[in-house]
Amino acid sequence: MTVNRTGSVAVRRGTTMEVVPLKHYGRLAGAIVAIAAVLAMLWVFASSRNVDWGAVIAYLPNADILSGLLITLELTVLAMALGAVLGTVLAVMRLSTNPVLQTVSTTYVWFVRSIPQLVQILFWFNIALFIPMLSIGGWSVSTNVLVTPIVAATLGLGLNEAAYMSEIVRAGILAIDPGQREAASALGYRPGQIMGRIVLPQAMRVIIPPSSNEVIGMLKATSLVSVIGAADLLTRAQSISSSNFKVIELLFVASFWYIVATTLASIGQYYLEKRFSAGSRDLRRPAKLRTETEQ
């Protein structure tokens, strides 16, 4: 059927018509359900007689808890530093033209990613069973003296992290237009200068968002070290609750501090992204600040 459109337009011309936006009833219903669910959850927590909220508040600034938090933060920084440095080296090796370096890097990533983090931490903690003494020149020391729980945890978490960071750094380097390197070499930059002055600074804006995810993941992964008694936040909370039986309360206390730490990490990410977004139109405004706790 054909409709005479010009005719109908001509009829309407001259009258101003009201524009009625589409009503999204589905969205409205969804919002109501979501709000109801959240309120119900809050009510369950707040009204529960099985949660001693006074104890939660009292334990938040507890000295043991705070020293545990400090260990958690320390482990996160050490493991991420090891992971980032080794990961960058692995990424550069993987992208080099030397097939041996490529293979070593690829194999490392494959091997480390294949073994659960918990197993790696336990392995480093028990390394003395495998290599009892370490000696350099005439100097030797028992491995157990050197590999404290903190060292074992740093190695277990950091060496594992390196495998993931290497993939992130590699993606960042690959995202840079080869013309940037070419221009730098034509200007007389040496290979190290090209990497340090031109490629990595630009790769940073690709590297930062997934790395921040890794930092946040690491903050929580440090809780794995409770199996080797590294006195981190969770270990401290559990040791308190094993004596006073306030299990849920102390898990809340630990969670509170994990949330604070990840929030601070997210804020750090926001400012880092801002700093490294120079010159890129799409990232002039970094992703809105969000408290990311997935993984």
């Binding site: 070419e182 221009a183 007389g188 490294f276 120079a278």
Partner: protein, 259 residues
């Protein structure tokens, strides 16, 4: 710039280049002299850009010799063989050869001013103050004195290419290689870049320009080198080349581009 006008700056002797089975350069013999502008013409895939990139060793060569100011770039001669140099050593020699790319290749994370400053500081070890003065002077010379704090992406292609030329000039090169400097530009922006290049030529800079701009070649070039299928088919002054080319291939090429 040292050396008198007319001294040989670039000398290629039987340069060979292969990409796998693809024989890209088949024995190129070529000379460019101080203060001369050479325009390299030819159809795409004829080896023009590859030859240009061999001059500063962005591409390695598979045979022959390439000398800049009488020195090998990227190679060292010993016992009748050419040994490829380490990247660090090559970098030193490259710094004397400027290059301007089709895609500009300005450093995207640096402002226009920093783009022109940083290579001077990193490669030439100049002080920040000195690098800054040089950069501002050169950017003003190419008409970008009011854009110092802009990032490359905020500029037009023509402005980016002029910045790239300033960046190269800041290194005080002995010669500048231009790899299709106007091919990525919108038609209305080609003129401003060619103007800068014309000024450079007039100032006595030695230039080798791979281009499709026949008009520029006619007006500015001292010699035209015509590449076809990996060979340097003909080298002649522009008037002679453009009006009475001596080879059939050159006549075919000119018929296509001039019609």
């Amino acid at each position: 710039m040292s050396g008198a006008r007319g001294d040989i700056v670039v000398e290629a002797i039987g340069v060979e280049k292969r990409f796998g089975d693809n024989h890209v350069l088949k024995g190129i013999d070529f000379i460019a002299r101080r203060g001369e502008v050479t325009c390299i013409l030819g159809a795409s895939g004829g080896g023009k850009s590859t030859f240009l990139r061999c001059i500063n060793h962005l591409e390695s060569i598979d045979g022959g010799e390439l000398l800049v100011d009488g020195q090998l770039v990227g190679y060292r001669e010993a016992n009748g063989k050419l040994y490829e140099m380490r990247e660090r050593e090559t970098a030193e020699r490259r710094a004397r050869i400027g290059m301007v790319f089709q895609q500009f290749n300005l450093f995207a994370h640096l402002t226009i001013l920093e783009n022109v400053m940083q290579p001077q500081i990193v490669v030439k070890k100049r002080s920040r103050a000195e690098a800054r003065d040089t950069a501002i002077e050169l950017l003003e010379r190419v008409g970008l004195g009011d854009k110092l704090t802009a990032y490359p992406r905020e500029l037009s292609g023509g402005q980016q290419q002029r910045t790239a030329i300033a960046r190269t000039l800041a290194m005080k090169p002995r010669l500048i290689l231009f790899d299709e400097p106007t091919s990525a530009l919108d038609p209305e922006l080609v003129g401003e870049v060619l103007d800068v290049m014309r000024d450079l030529a007039a100032s006595g800079m030695t230039m080798i320009v791979v281009t499709h701009e026949i008009g520029f070649a006619r007006e500015v070039a001292d010699q035209i080198a015509f590449f076809d299928d990996g060979r340097l088919v003909e080298t002649a002054p522009p008037q002679e080349f453009l009006t009475s080319p001596s080879t059939e291939r050159a006549r075919n090429f000119l018929r296509k581009v001039l019609s």
